[in-house]
């Protein structure tokens, strides 16, 4: 493969900038490296992609985990370039391709708003679209606006194969005009952002499996792949059913929760389109147990915690389900820094009532908002600025736990993770 000279120079300049940034202790240097490369060669992404990009993964929730699952599954046919560092805008994509193994196929997670540009420039083999819901509304687009952007993107890139979640009406609306499409009934636990038809505004009708609109006649597209899930009394049943009826048992995934089994179903559908051996793909996905700190057990000051990341109501409502049952205490950390979104009003959309019967350690720079939310939810809250300090005023029930769940918004999560890993990139 022949990378144009200008882009090769751009990559060198980017690497220098990244190294300088790392030496200055400013982090991993990916974003600055990508920025410098793009400044030197605006077409760097197109030049580096050149048919290498197997898949782009976008969604409000689950991008990073789905990307890791898919990249791990694709490793059966050779090296895969796939950083799951959360650098998911244009510069992150440039950097992933510039620093990954030369010529290796790539799987990239992509921010919802940046997806149109990155699809245009990388021309991936497949694009996975899993879900859209409210997220950081102070700086991101409202959901219907994103769907319209994706719709335009699909119209402009007719050769790209779309793998989309038919159960999310907003995603279905975004993807319905695709000429090459695989629909996956991947489930939708959070319906509050798709109560009305994104096209005609009529209230959607829903039953257990499908949705339809009486206003314009839209309904859930007929899926090729189906995700099945049930959880009762600690027993979970999870499987993906392929178009030919073949069934894949998802109950041995290393990642917890309904949402990760759904992510794995999307990844399997992608593997099928990319010509992979599916039983091998599933075996490889089963080995993934933590993704960039998510679900990892780490030391946080005086405590050992299982780190959980949730950024918005849809993510939180699923996360509450994987915590151990009451009365086990948990730590919840709510920040409202730029990357978290500055407006934590969404706390009122999260069913924190489900935490009743246990003590919640409320922390993060918006712990007071959380404390009021928990007060209304009838949940016992201890507001503690730094629960990890050696002298933190923690209830005995917290200290008695070997590992405590710590669910946090993005910047709170990253702070714990980076401190625990002493600057290493991955877990």
């Amino acid at each position: 493969m022949n990378t144009p000279l200008r882009t090769r120079l751009a990559i060198s300049a980017g690497k220098l900038a990244a190294a300088t940034s790392r030496l200055a202790g400013r982090g991993e240097g990916m974003i600055i490296g990508g920025k410098v490369a793009l400044a030197v060669s605006p077409h760097a992404l197109r030049d580096l992609a050149q048919g290498r990009v197997a898949a782009l993964v976008s969604a409000t929730n689950g991008k990073t985990s789905t990307t890791r699952l898919l990249a791990t599954a694709l490793s059966q046919s050779g090296p895969v370039a796939s950083p799951t560092t959360g650098a998911n805008m244009t510069e992150g994509a440039v950097w992933a391709l510039a620093t990954g193994e030369p010529g290796a196929q790539a799987v990239l997670e992509v921010d919802e708003a940046y997806l149109p540009r990155i699809v245009r420039e990388t021309q991936p083999k497949v694009v996975l679209l899993a879900n859209l819901s409210r997220d950081q509304l102070d700086r991101m687009s409202e959901v219907a606006m994103l769907a319209r952007k994706w719709r335009a993107m699909i119209a402009e890139n007719p050769d790209v194969l779309i793998i989309a979640n038919a159960d999310d009406p907003i995603v279905a609306y975004a993807a319905e005009k695709a000429t090459k499409i695989v629909w996956v009934a991947a489930g939708q636990a959070w319906t509050a952002d798709s109560s009305v038809c994104p096209d005609c505004g009529t209230l959607l009708s829903r039953d257990e499996k499908t949705w339809s609109c009486s206003g314009c006649g839209r309904s859930r597209p007929e899926p090729s792949w189906t995700f099945e899930w049930s959880a009762q009394q600690g027993n979970t049943y999870a499987r993906a059913v392929a178009p030919d009826g073949q069934s894949f048992d998802l109950s041995h995934l290393g990642l917890p929760g309904r949402f990760n089994a759904s992510n794995a179903t999307m990844a399997l559908a992608a593997c099928s389109e990319l010509g992979q051996d599916l039983p091998t793909a599933l075996e490889l996905m089963n080995t993934v147990s933590a993704v960039s700190g998510r679900f990892a057990t780490v030391q946080a000051g005086a405590l050992t915690v299982r780190l959980l990341l949730a950024k918005n109501p849809a993510g939180w409502s699923e996360l509450l389900d994987i915590m151990p049952p009451a009365p086990t205490p948990v730590i919840v950390m709510i920040n409202a820094n730029h990357a978290d979104g500055r407006d934590p009003s969404w706390l009122w959309d999260v069913p924190f009532e489900r935490l009743a019967g246990r003590t919640v350690i409320a922390s993060g720079n918006r712990r007071r908002d959380l404390a009021v939310r928990l007060l209304h939810a009838g949940v016992d809250a201890h507001v503690i600025e730094d629960p990890f300090a050696p002298n933190a005023d923690l209830p005995d029930s917290v200290r008695a736990l070997e590992v405590i769940d710590c669910a946090a918004t993005y910047t709170a999560f990253q702070k714990i993770r980076v401190a625990a890993l002493d600057g290493e990139v991955d877990a």
């Binding site: 219907a144 509050a192 500055r342 009003s345």
Partner: protein
């Protein structure tokens, strides 16, 4: 007799945590020993005409137009107001109460005309902490600064029959230095947060109207700590 609270189309008008307003009304009513009955009205279902308090939240453009159309068809909100009910409407819900607001394509749509206001577009979207001092037209008992978070593109112009609820001390509000509007017991505002969580005195005013007596303010330490933190955050910047 219970106070009847109607949560209007929370599936359409509830994008910004606005469910917290009904939660706050319920919570404070319990503290005051007032029984409440909450009806969540979904589109397609009948809006009660005999509620004591109607609550409308914020929402996206398409949902806002759908909610306005359904409320027009129903007519129950206007009837409720005529019968003495109060209305608290936030953001998109506030705009719906006016004469016109702009739809997703930027075309003026008819509102319910329960407030003498019209809404067009601000030059730049208003996003951030909002502080406003209650105006002389604010209901009795509301003198403490209002705190909340705004996220809207609407520039709301008040006509002679609507009075500003407050004067902006930080943020944008209506767009002309005023914030919100009030006419009788109908209140519109851009304060998310949610509004009644961060400003419990407004909730106590609505409940007081419903039971026909003034309620003594109940101080909750968690709420005071949150209010103080938000005030400090804005004034320290």
């Amino acid at each position: 007799m219970s106070v009847k609270i109607a949560s209007i189309y929370p599936t359409l008008l509830g994008t910004y945590g606005d469910g917290g307003n009904v939660a706050a009304l319920t919570h404070l009513a319990t503290l005051h020993g007032i029984a409440v009955e909450v009806t969540e009205v979904s589109p397609g279902h009948t809006v009660p005409h005999d509620a004591d308090i109607y609550v409308l939240g914020g929402g996206e453009d398409t949902a806002q137009s759908a909610a306005a159309a359904a409320l027009h068809a129903s007519g129950a909100l206007a009837e409720g107001v005529k019968n003495g009910a109060s209305v608290l409407a936030i953001c998109a819900g506030y705009q719906i109460l006016g004469h016109t607001f702009l739809d997703a394509e930027g075309k003026p749509s008819a509102g319910l005309a329960l407030l003498d206001v019209t809404t067009d577009r601000l030059d730049t979207r208003a996003v951030g902490e909002l502080l406003a001092q209650p105006s002389e037209f604010a209901p009795a008992g509301l003198t403490e600064v209002f705190t909340g978070y705004e996220n809207h593109g609407g520039h709301t112009h008040l006509g002679p029959d609507a009075k500003p609820l407050a004067t902006v001390t930080h943020g944008v509000g209506n767009g002309d230095g005023t914030e919100g509007a009030i006419s009788g017991r109908v209140i519109g505002t851009y304060l998310h947060g949610p509004c009644l969580v961060r400003n419990p005195r407004i909730a106590e005013r609505l409940l007081g109207w419903a039971v026909g007596r003034d309620l003594d303010h109940i101080v909750e330490a968690e709420v005071e700590a949150l209010r103080q933190e938000r005030l400090d955050f804005v004034t320290k910047k």
